[in-house]
Amino acid sequence: MFTTGSKLLIGSSVFALVAAVVYGVTQNEALGIVGLVSAACALAFLAGVNVWAGDSNLSALDTAAVATSEASDDPPGASIWPMVFAVGAAAVLVGLVSQQSVFTIGLVILLAAGAQWAVQAWAESASTDSTTNAAVRGRLANPLEYPLLGAFAVGGIAYALSRIMLWLSKTNTIIAFVVLATIIACIAFIFAARPSLKRGAIGGVLTVGAVAIVAGGVAAGVDGQRYIHVYETIAADAALVCNSPEEFEVDEGASQTVSTKAGTYTISLTAAGTLEFDVPGPVAEGSDAISLRRSNPNNIVFRNDSGEARRLTLDFGPAPEDEASAAAEEGYGADESHGADESHGDKSDRNLTCTSLVEDGGAQLITVKFAEPSFAYADDAEAYRFYVPGTDAEIDVVVP
């Protein structure tokens, strides 16, 4: 029978068809016609369905089903998901033309709302009893919602807190952290001591705290984080650092102890200003050079007993062409604060490695690996030699 709905659909379908004809005559453009004709067909189909099924979701032919149909169940409750879904869809569109992050957020909202919508719809068809349906929904959705929401809340607060901490200066960070921790501890104490406190009061305090942190985080994040200094490494300035007995930035806070490590070589700078080496087992008599293995990570402990802060440097031979030039250009040699003298400048084309500055009585581990045997540098008196800048101490290395 022609119900109200089917009349509307039939009318719309006819209208679309007429519009297509009019459009085709006036505009002579294919795409629009296709669209309008498609709309007309779709509306006609819906009209057909409507005529057959009636306005309810019952078959018009099924007269006995009224009592058992879902249409006789409680009407579904209110739902927020269509609206959230729409917000997500809007964000996706806005994101497409503006920023990718908006698009991503929109997509997440869209998917989450869609999933929630689907679960709710499914749960509402479970029974006629809306309480049971809510429980059904909870059983499936809660295990996903709780951790996700919890993670978002915790993550958001942690992120906001990190922005605040990075915005504060180094010292203030510590103060802020102590103060904040104290406040949290005090509030927790109060909550624990007064179990009769109203839920609303606790929730209110926590909400205020969370909002404060998030707001602070947003403000700090907008303002940007404090300046954090990036330290140099020895490798970046080996040519300069390794040839100098002075202290450089890389030497600050350098390790001064080695955990007792068995099975390593030891090279000591003695109080007399000479370098001596020791090995597991006896040192072979008659060898004045330290014999290290090729292509092997040789662990060497440098001990400094000289009374002054010193570093141990190893000369691998001339630096390869490209590295030498790079070292000359980028090295500290041009830096005004450490005006390199002549002798340093000469050595900048060497391939060096070294420990950082070791204080008197300290020790440091250095791992060295030789790619070539020492006879490859037979003509080079500087190569394959440990030395201590600022002293005459040196010791030759033999790599068979």
Partner: protein, 672 residues
């Protein structure tokens, strides 16, 4: 897994007059509890410790056969010089996976099977403390084991040996994913062990029947309890090591890179701090089993029960101080070596105490040599040999000659096969009627026993000789030039060992045949009597197999061997003892059932343990193949954890189909 089910039939409207509010399970279905008591769901989602124990055992048995086949391939390869059955690569994978399978996927879970099944029964509890956790540990173990073995189909198994020494386990030296599978697989099975350990510890400490003090606890429960304590502390160590390995291999960390200043010995220390207690984890459950079996078939209590208990506990403590005896050759320095050498000898004392006590249990007894008893006596003999050869390499200088040779292989197979596996088989024969209600055939059982004993001595006995004559382990081939001359050279003994392997294999086949003969359709084996062995401990004071609720009423305990003392009365005077039977076992059980507790509450089954267990391999595949999978697995795991936490403790009326009335849910379960 059917989370959502459509009704199979529509509700009958006419009979009820008006349309009823359809219950979830009868209409659309939703996440109702899997309350079925038959069919695969009743096993897959069960929280019954007995069903879980049986599944543990079945899966472990499968892995036992798998590991045995790997062993057979290894021995075939080594039967003659320059073996060509396996490539070097496959051989290395084979021995790695053989050890890993046998240790982590057979002996440990098989011991867990016994512990799961019998601890609640032996202490008079209706289930373990955390039934759902129990299901979790089973499924985590199963999926971990399967995950580990999928490596065979995804580029090859791990090839670094079960000890997986760094840096040989790093990517440049083992570029396939085998080691990743190994590390993550063990991580997963480690979770299973840890969860199980916590569960059983709480069970033993809190759920003993009234009257059962710790020193009245059956000895198997005691030993299993010590093992759970060991697991509780050992698994975290290997977990740390495996995390380091995972970060080294998958995320570019440098824990074992010498160039970065690392020391590869770190791994060895971590591994063996876990690895040595692991040895006792493997062997103590079997010690417990035969400490149950020997008294039963000697008609005498365990000699020196407190000494056996305390020696077990002593092994549990001292076992932590001897790990470096696996590293005598790795250059620790003489002082460390001396200390660990002496400590290792010290641990031989409590082990010796056990052997002495078993022997003295037999002394003066009334011995019947059932198959279970034969396996128990076999354990004493074989384990003693393993123990004595163990003392020879507690002596560090000797160990530097013996370690990493076949002598060590011989030693630990005498300890693990002779100790752990024979004990487990003793347990199979002893408890089979309890678990399945039917006695296994004794004649087939004796074939099984003697073939296994002959096989293991033929296999592992010659390895003493092979090792002392200098054949190292883990070599995919040996050559005639190093085998010596004469007829009895290493080639001869290698061949004997290979033949022995097949004798051993046939012995184990007899066990499987025995099961088939007993349980095949139309089997003529009658149901077992309720107390076939004239047993002594609590698990027998109930029907066989036990009801889902274990005991009709919670037993009251007044003596160590409670069941024995309920059956027999000492009518002798003064020092003269004379025992007369006052009740049969059946009568004792009947008495208990006649006085059943009126209300029995049992935990409800759950999907969530299995869902959570499934999430772990997903995450592990993610570590290997794609980080997104970690996220997906993590999401499933989180959902499962919350679903678990939010799940009501008991099944609700609407979980049943048709729904049950009122408070009947627990009865519904218990009365099935």
């Amino acid at each position: 897994m059917a989370i959502i089910e459509r009704p199979t039939e529509t509700p009958d409207v006419t009979n009820r007059g008006t349309r009823p509010a359809p219950k979830a399970s009868t209409n659309y279905g939703y996440l109702r509890r899997p309350v079925e008591t038959t069919g695969w769901r009743s096993w897959a989602f069960t929280v019954d410790h007995k069903k879980i124990g049986i599944m543990y055992g079945a899966v472990a048995m499968f892995f036992f056969i798998l590991g045995g086949l790997e062993a057979a391939l290894i021995r075939l390869q080594l039967a003659g010089p320059n073996g060509t059955i396996l490539s070097a690569d496959k051989y290395n994978q084979m021995f790695t996976m053989h050890a890993t399978t046998m240790v982590f996927l057979f002996v440990m879970p098989m011991a867990a099977a016994f512990a799961n099944y019998f601890i609640p029964l032996q202490i008079g509890a209706r289930d373990v403390a955390f039934p759902r956790l129990n299901a979790l540990s089973l499924w985590v173990f199963v999926f971990g084991g399967v995950f580990l073995n999928t490596s065979w189909f995804l580029g090859g198994g791990a090839d670094g040996g079960w000890f997986m020494y760094a840096p040989n386990s790093s990517v440049p030296f083992s570029p396939t994913n085998g080691v990743d599978f190994w590390g993550l697989g063990l991580q997963i099975t480690g979770i299973a062990s840890l969860v199980g350990a916590i569960n059983l510890i709480v069970t033993v400490l809190n759920m003993r029947a009234p009257g059962m003090s710790m020193m009245k606890m059956p000895i198997f429960t005691w030993m299993a309890f010590v093992v759970q304590m060991l697991l509780l502390f050992a698994i975290p160590v290997i977990t740390v090591a495996l995390f380091l390995l995972m970060f080294q291999r998958s995320f570019g960390a440098q824990f074992f890179s010498v160039e970065a200043g690392a020391d590869p010995l770190l791994w060895q220390h971590l591994f063996w701090i876990f690895g040595h207690p692991e040895v006792y984890i493997l062997v103590l459950p079997s010690f417990g089993i035969i400490s149950e079996v020997l008294p039963v078939f000697s008609k005498k209590p365990l000699f020196g029960y407190p000494f056996v208990v305390f020696s077990g506990a002593a092994i549990g403590f001292v076992g932590w101080g001897v790990w470096a005896h696996h590293m005598f050759a790795s250059g620790l320095g003489p002082v460390s070596v001396a200390v660990f050498s002496v400590a290792t000898m010290a641990i031989a004392v409590p082990t010796g105490v056990k052997i002495i006590n078993w022997t003295l249990t037999l002394w003066g007894g009334k011995l019947t040599f059932t198959t279970a008893m034969l396996f128990a006596v076999g354990l004493i003999v074989q384990f003693t040999i393993g123990g004595l050869s163990g003392v020879t390499h507690a002596v560090a200088p000797s160990d530097t000659q013996q370690t990493d040779t076949y002598y060590i292989v011989a030693h630990f197979h005498y300890v693990i096969f002779g100790g752990a596996v024979l004990g487990l088989f003793s347990g199979f024969y002893y408890w089979w009627p309890k678990v399945f209600g039917k006695l296994l055939s004794e004649s087939l059982g004796k074939w099984n026993f003697w073939l296994m004993i002959a096989g293991m001595n033929l296999t592992f006995g010659p390895m003493h000789i092979i090792g002392l004559q200098g054949q190292p382990r883990r070599m995919y081939r040996w050559t005639e030039f190093r085998a010596g001359q004469g007829f009895f050279n290493l080639g001869f003994w290698n061949l004997v060992a290979t033949i022995g392997t097949f004798v051993l294999g046939v012995g184990i086949l007899f066990f499987l045949v025995n099961i088939w003969v007993t349980h095949r359709p139309n089997s003529k084996t009658p149901p077992a009597p309720a107390d076939p062995w004239d047993a002594r401990s609590l698990e027998w004071i109930t029907s066989s197999p036990p009801k889902e609720y274990n005991f009709a009423r919670t037993p009251q305990v007044s003596a160590l061997d409670e069941f024995f003392h309920r059956k027999y009365e000492d009518v002798g005077e003064g020092d003269k003892h004379e025992y007369v039977q006052k009740m049969t076992g059946e009568e004792v059980i009947q008495f208990e059932e006649d006085n059943a507790d009126p209300n029995i509450h049992l935990p409800a089954p759950s999907y969530w343990p299995m869902v959570l267990a499934l999430a772990l391999p997903v995450m592990a595949y993610g570590v290997i193949y794609n980080t997104l999978l970690i996220v997906a697995g993590g999401a499933i795991a989180t959902m499962a954890m919350f679903g678990w936490a939010l799940e009501p403790a008991d099944a609700e009326a609407s979980d049943f189909d048709p729904p049950v009335e009122g408070d009947e849910t627990s009865k519904e379960l218990s009365n099935v």
